[in-house]
Amino acid sequence: MSNVFKKIIPRSQMIKICLVPVFMFGFGFAMVPLYNVLCDITGLNGKTGRVEASVIDESKVDTSRTIEVRFLANITAGLPWSFEPLVTKMDVHPGQLYEAIYRVRSTSDQVTRGQAIPSVSPGIAAQHFNKTVCFCFSEQDLAGYETRDMPMTFIIDNGVSDKVEQITLSYTFFSLDKG
């Protein structure tokens, strides 16, 4: 009976059917970069932009608009740090460069490492919120009981929607020390 089956199931068709699951397994993983690209383009999910200070044209400051920027700081469990912004809110004009300082203090006697992850709300403002300098661009290593003031300079570009009157910038520090 097996000979009968061999004749009527075309090999090329079987290969095609079997390639579908293989392709879709890969597609599951491809969704990860696709998703990141989509969020970068659309500013969904609070992903912020990064610009070089040299390309900023200070003459384009829109003084007619004022946006309130609020700063939040969070620490996840397992990281023995305290973390806070020195100024909790700031009134800014689109097109102008500002600096905010965050202070982080280690409460451990060991060297500890952390990485800050930013998030901007509302999502429609995220793609217009650009940073030139940020402590979140690199890992932070703190010696035992070290205190560090970390700068972050940002500019909200003129393309930001008129509906946005308030932007919240939140940083969360995650521990990079295993265990």
């Binding site: 009976m1 199931i9 059917i17 879709m24 397994f25 969904l44 995650f174």
Partner: protein
Amino acid sequence: MTNATTTTEHVDHDDHGPAYGLTRWITTTNHKDIGTLYLWFAFIMLLTGGSFAMVIRAELFQPGLQFVEPHFFNQMTTMHGLIMVFGAIMPAFVGLANWMLPLMIGAPDMALPRMNNWSFWILPFAFTMLLSSFFMEGGAPAFGWTFYAPLSTTYAPASTDYFIFGVHLMGISSVMGAINVIATILNMRAPGMTLMKMPLFVWTWLITAYLLIAVMPVLAGAVTMMLTDRHFGTSFFDAAGGGDPVMFQHIFWFFGHPEVYIMILPAFGIISAIVPTFARKPLFGYSSMVYATGSIAILSFMVWAHHMFTTGMPVAGELYFMYATILISIPTGVKVFNWVTTMWRGSMTFETPMLWALGFIVMFTIGGLSGLMLGVAPVDTQYHDTYFVVAHFHYVLVTGALYSIIAAFYYWVPKWTGNMYNETLGKIHFWWSTIAVNVLFFPQHFLGLAGMPRRIPDYALQFAEFNMISSIGGFSFGLAQVFFLFIIIKTIKGGKKATDIVWEGATGLEFEALPSPAPYHSFNTAPEVK
């Protein structure tokens, strides 16, 4: 001499029945044996997952903590969902496909019989692995059947790795089963059976099989990412490393939404077989049924984020997913109206399979309507993660998918065993289940609208009455399925002999071209289809 021997052997080969003993079931490549194995496996899993549901309903019978710890309660809700979806509903449909597809298209067996054996025998190992996690330190997975990260990565018990490999095995089994279905339907139809002459159960299974090979690998990818996040230092879902837990939900529901159609499309096929038989009229709108099934399958890939309205999507995204979701009600509505129109002015009788099919049409539609409510983004913000959602998906999965499987059992069991089931017992089973299931799930709509969250072992006092009613319905429905086990065994052991056509209005090769019970080897020569 040589020729003569070969001929004799050949004849022997054609005539032989099943082997004896346990090895018959382990080594079998016969589609009927494998179908039976799948159906029994699904039934055992139904009782297992059902017993977990009994624990849940016992704990929720009264407010406060009575029987189980909250952590164990979470294990119960998680395992109930996983077992019912992957262990009961899906294998039951695969079992029905194994039994019925070759009989319906006039094929001697499935196209890939050895792979068929393998795809079944993976399942007991997968579920043994999954269930063994109860006996491990930290207990079984307790993060819900949707296993959202980081609950299933950073905060999960060690046994989660057993869950991950269990899901891998189930996925391999489903994909192999689906490849087999596609190969069988595309290549082994009897001469004259064109695609548009296939019974709808065959059509819906063909489309379901394509959904399976498309999305089960995505689920495998999701659990693989969980595995590497847990042990190999990747950060797919870990924000600390630049990943994103919300992405888990996107990947999961990209699998998850087609998955819910995997669990309902074969049901549509079963109802489309039963309703014409007992209305004694051909199915109304056959080709529109085929196209509706196809469009539901295609749309199912484009609506996944309606499970995620509360994750903070932009308005444009919410609007798109809302409209796309509600669009699915059109092909689904086509089906419901086609069934109703098939019955219109038919000479209807109400044997047990028809009762279950009618129960399906009425109650699946209730579940569909609550689904429409949940599909409306601003409304979903209120209903998300409440008992309203629980009521919705139990109406579509219990009174939908499970009812169709039970209907299929009563409809085809005379063809499988040669015995009629006891009509009185079957009717008692139907009315008992139908009253109980509504007592069980209908009050959950009210609980959800009043704000009771799902997956909690304790609740505020104002929810007490409806929970008690719901629990009583739950115990009763559970008992009704033990009664079903009695009916199944009684039917296999004996009963009134079934005629070859079984039902007065039955059509299709399985009734018209085969005796009851169907012989162990059927359609060794293909039938002619006009």
